[in-house]
């Protein structure tokens, strides 16, 4: 009996040992490059996050850490981890595919995140003055009892902050970010009533019942229209419980679904490009907001970009400082050069011409260089943006048509038509510069398809965007079979050349369902050396034909980084 049990035990141990060895010693093996559900269209969020707690990210520390700690440079520069296998960003609590992937009309973009008609007319019930940020404002309830965060234009700067919020809100919504609903309202002081429960935080740090003088203090800092009203933005209270902002690095440790370091999220890296386009210089945790919502009975954290009105040429209280968008708040080498040269180390921001419009501020597109644009403080995500992230973002920027941009600028509801025109003109100029800089910095082939006749078609994003011509010597296409288990490839036929972005596959493409082919495309043009880097495209044969399953523009890890 002992002998029988002994055999059983020894056999089991041996089997487990062999299995463990096979599982761990081999190439991780056995994990295929493409799963059956690739490419994902939605980022899974499987865990209940309802135990997430509100936190406060210290503004002072956030600024100091990003300015002097350079947190984004400490790890190898890897590919964004929130992209699917076709190098796109699936929908998630961070991002929703809109412009560039969905069909958006001009009116869709102009409506943006709005779902209703705005605050109910009637008397506002003021519950407290606005405490965050510099813009004067209140938290108020409208006649229906809905809560709104209302902010005014600063005294002396009519339409500047409110116009920027209206326009930027629509831009960032179209780009895919979660945005609050912002409505333009005109408020007469007589429409404001202080709620019985309204409290105010005094300079002494204490809270007390709000008084009429507190209300008047806020209005005194706000711009009064000739008719006595105050133009304001009413931002609808976000659904769910607010949790504080998110950092541009690491993950939220109490959110189980937050497993991708924020600095490796393309949606945040892409703000390098989106920020450059709109001059979103105030990129900080304090301008973000997480909320806990419930979906399908499960708590999920949704991530909002807040205060996107910190854009274009004006801040909450005044036009931008001249160096904003051109330099970080602190750049040691430039400080030293200016110091020892008595200031004669002159930078572009010191001489660039602005068409200064009081409603738009200092915003220009002639000297603008998107690759040199900088927010006040570099975030970890900002410094880790790679060429493929910038390319992805630039395609979205380029998807905004001139008409769309002009409609967005008009949505700022500036009384001075020149203001809207200036804003639109500059956005168009900056858009085109972004396209030129980032669509050409990488092999820009896109929109791949392999049809039933085994003919490959694709497009060139730079050509589509009218920032480049077709490559002088056309494209070279190489075909391979691809073993999804081992990653091995075998060439099929000889490379083919095309100038019209159509290439018939050589004979020998696999016909079995589930088979994968790899197609490697390069563009040859002396003017665009970056186009010679191949883009690897993968198609999987399904029941209804070939389906795109993979796109690789850059290796997972690249060494070059521009701090």
């Amino acid at each position: 009996m002992m002998t029988k049990h002994f055999r059983l035990i020894v056999g089991t141990v041996f089997a487990l040992t062999v299995t463990f060895a096979l599982q761990t010693a081999g190439p991780r093996g056995a994990a295929p490059k493409f799963y059956s559900d690739d490419p994902l269209q939605r980022e899974p969020e499987t865990q209940d996050a309802s135990k997430v707690q509100e936190w406060e990210i210290d503004l002072f520390w956030d600024l100091a850490e990003n300015l002097f700690g350079n947190p984004g440079a400490k790890r190898p520069l890897v590919k964004s981890r929130d992209v699917n296998t076709i190098d796109e960003v699936p929908n998630s609590s961070w991002f929703t595919n809109r412009i560039g992937t969905e069909t958006l009309s001009v009116s869709d973009v102009v409506r943006g995140p709005l779902t209703g008609d705005g605050p109910a007319p009637g008397t506002w019930s003021v519950t407290r003055p606005k405490e965050a940020g510099f813009a004067p404002g209140f938290t108020m309830k409208d006649a229906k009892g809905d809560t709104w965060f209302v902010s005014f234009d600063a005294n002396g700067f009519p339409e500047a902050a409110t116009g920027a919020i209206l326009a930027a809100n629509k831009i960032f919504w179209a780009l895919g970010y979660w945005q609050a609903e912002n409505y333009l309202v005109d408020i007469q002081p007589k429409e404001l009533a202080i709620a019985d429960t309204a409290v105010v935080r005094t300079p002494a740090g204490k809270r007390r019942q709000m008084k009429q003088s507190d209300l008047e203090d806020v209005l005194r800092r706000s711009h009064k229209s000739p008719d006595g009203s105050y133009r304001a933005i009413a931002a609808k209270a976000l659904p769910g419980r607010t949790l504080g902002g998110f950092r541009y690095r690491d993950t939220r440790p109490d959110d189980p679904n937050d497993v991708i370091p924020h600095e490796d999220r393309r949606t945040l890296r892409a703000l390098k490009v989106f920020g450059a386009w709109t001059n979103l210089v105030d990129m900080k945790a304090g301008n973000t907001l997480d909320t806990l919502i419930t979906e399908n009975g499960k708590g999920l954290v949704r991530h909002y970009l807040q205060d996107v009105g910190s854009t274009f040429g004006t801040g909450a209280n005044a036009p931008r400082e001249y160096d904003e968008g051109w330099e970080y708040l602190w750049e040691g080498d430039k400080v030293m050069k200016r110091l020892i040269t008595l200031g004669f180390f002159v930078q572009p921001w010191q001489t660039v011409n602005y068409t200064e419009n009081p409603a738009i501020g200092r915003f220009e597109g002639v000297e603008f260089d998107p690759t040199e644009w900088k927010p006040r403080v570099p975030t970890a995500a900002f410094v880790r943006a790679r060429a493929d992230d910038n390319f992805w973002a630039a395609r979205r920027v380029m998807a905004f048509s001139d008409d769309m941009i002009r409609a967005i600028a008009s949505a700022g509801q500036y009384h001075d038509e020149a203001a809207a025109k200036l804003l639109a003109d500059v956005l168009i100029q900056r858009r085109d510069k972004i396209g030129t800089a980032y669509l050409n910095a990488i092999n820009p082939v896109v929109n791949f398809a392999l049809d039933g006749s085994d003919t490959l078609t694709f497009q060139n994003a730079a050509v589509e965007g009218r920032v480049a011509n077709e490559p002088a010597s056309g494209y070279t296409v190489r075909w391979f079979t691809f073993d999804n288990g081992t990653g091995n490839t075998t060439a099929i036929g000889s490379p083919t050349a095309t100038t019209d972005r159509r290439a018939k596959a050589p004979a020998g493409l696999p016909s079995a369902t589930g088979a994968i082919v790899k197609v490697q495309i390069v563009g040859t043009d002396p003017a665009h050396a970056a186009w010679a880097a191949p883009v690897d495209v993968y198609f999987r044969r399904g029941a209804s034909g070939w389906a795109l399953v993979g796109v690789e523009r850059l290796p997972d890890s690249v060494s070059e980084r521009k701090p």
């Binding site: 055999r7 059983l8 020894v10 056999g11 089991t12 041996f14 089997a15 487990l16 062999v18 299995t19 096979l22 599982q23 799963y35 059956s36 559900d37 994902l40 980022e43 899974p44 969020e45 499987t46 865990q47 707690q53 936190w55 210290d58 002072f60 520390w61 100091a64 850490e65 699917n84 296998t85 005094t202 300079p203 002494a204 740090g205 007390r208 203090d217 005194r220 939220r252 440790p253 109490d254 959110d255 189980p256 679904n257 937050d258 497993v259 400082e321 001249y322 160096d323 708040l329 602190w330 430039k334 400080v335 200016r338 110091l339 008595l342 200031g343 002159v346 921001w349 010191q350 001489t351």
Partner: protein
């Protein structure tokens, strides 16, 4: 060796092989699934989230972050409580160390106790109350009760012809109580008014130079030997549009006149003085450079009034003739003109300046000409915030050598 023989010699071998094969096959199929290998991308991500769900924790700030937050809360945010205090007891007193305690008793009103002690044993203690933003933010009110002891204040004699070797010192103790108000009815107009009772107690100077009474007489040091008590009233009017702020300006200006009435309680040393001050900041190339100009005239209004030596207009160090020591020149009237070529290495924190100061003191108003001026040149670095200049370090050279100036405010 036959197969049967082998079995006979190794009775376990056959069964062992079957068992092993079965378990191995089973394990190879089942264990990857149990161990977490996934067959879909979604499952792979879900597994990662599932693992994190077992290890959730609240955010733990680093030690440096904790310190930064603590410093901000205790020294910037918290309006009530202890705070470090660096200031000046009296010009020429040297570095100070000090602390204060502030307590709010209204929305914008607090009382404050603060004290300083300097390297030269100067001492300062003050109880004050400040209340800002009355009348729709247009009026600020301040009250002060304080005492200072300056143990070795320099005195070189009257006029511009004194020499360094004539330096003597005196001790000044001053108790005071009073208040003032600042009014900004409409930008950029500014008005001020105040009244302070000042009780001076004068004595022999300390240190290693002669005390004032050893060198000077009441003729060469008016009021020597007296310790007057004054009701000091002031009034001022001006326009002030310095920006970003008066404590750190890169543009705008200040044009202001001030009137002082020192009413001696014994009537002997009463006098009136008027000050006129102009400061203009001219930005060049988007504040890459700033030309800052400053003029200050102080004049005793009546030739018949007697002004005690320690309240005479003076020039030296600080933001006056910066190459000269504090209180280097004193007389009944003074004229100061300064110009700075400033450049801004960092809008966040650092300013630099090349400067030129020139000025004189004179016994009569008519003598305030541009002849006989003392001058200096120098270079300075200023560490500033958005609207304040907490540290200014300047090296200046004049006819009497070099002087290093440390200041806790903007030059003007």
């Amino acid at each position: 060796m036959s197969r049967i023989d082998a079995k006979a010699r190794h009775p376990l071998r056959y069964r062992f092989s079957l068992t092993t094969i079965c378990f191995t096959v089973f394990a190879l199929i089942v264990i990857p699934r149990l161990a977490g290998a996934q067959d879909s991308r979604a499952a792979e991500i879900a597994a990662e989230q599932s693992r994190k769900a077992t290890d959730l924790k609240a955010y733990q700030p680093s030690g440096a972050e904790k310190w930064a937050i603590r410093l901000r809360r205790e020294f910037i945010d918290l309006p009530s409580g202890f705070y470090p205090y660096f200031g000046s007891v009296y010009s020429g007193g040297g570095f100070t160390l000090g602390a204060g305690f502030r307590q709010y008793y209204g929305d914008r009103t607090h009382w404050d106790v603060k004290g300083l002690y300097s390297l030269k044993s100067y001492k300062f203690l003050e109880f004050s109350t400040d209340s800002w933003g009355h009348a729709q933010g247009k009026v600020d009110l301040h009250g002060r009760l304080g005492w200072r002891d300056a143990t070795q204040v320099s005195y070189y004699g009257l006029g511009m012809d004194t020499v360094e070797d004539d330096r003597s010192t005196f001790r000044l103790k001053q108790g005071y109580v009073g208040g003032n108000m600042n009014v900004r009815p409409v930008r950029p107009l500014v008005f001020g008014a105040g009244a302070t009772y000042e009780d001076y107690s004068m004595g022999s100077g300390q240190g290693n130079v002669p005390s004032i009474e050893e060198i000077f007489t009441p003729v060469t040091a008016p009021g020597l030997g007296v310790s007057p008590k004054y009701l000091h009233t002031t009034g001022s009017a001006g326009i002030d549009w310095r920006a970003p702020g008066a404590g750190y300006a890169r543009r705008g200006g200040l044009y202001e006149v001030r009137y002082h009435n020192y009413a001696d309680q014994d009537k002997t040393y009463s006098f009136d003085r008027a000050d006129g001050e102009i400061a203009q900041h001219i930005p060049i190339l988007r504040e890459t450079w700033v030309i800052s100009l400053h003029g200050l005239v102080q004049t005793t209004l009546s030739d018949d009034d007697q002004v005690p030596y320690f309240l005479l207009p003076s020039l030296g160090s600080g933001s006056t003739l910066r190459a000269y020591p504090s209180w280097r020149f004193r007389d009944r009237h003074s004229l100061l003109m300064s110009g700075e070529f400033r450049w801004i290495p960092s809008r966040l924190a650092i300013d630099m300046a090349l400067f030129y100061d020139t000025g004189k003191v004179a016994p009569r108003w008519d003598d305030l000409s541009l002849k006989g001026l003392k001058s200096d040149v120098g270079i300075g670095i200023r560490f500033h915030g958005p609207v304040a200049t907490p540290l200014r370090i300047e090296l200046a050279k004049g006819s009497e050598g070099m002087n290093l100036v440390f200041g806790g405010s903007a030059a003007w």
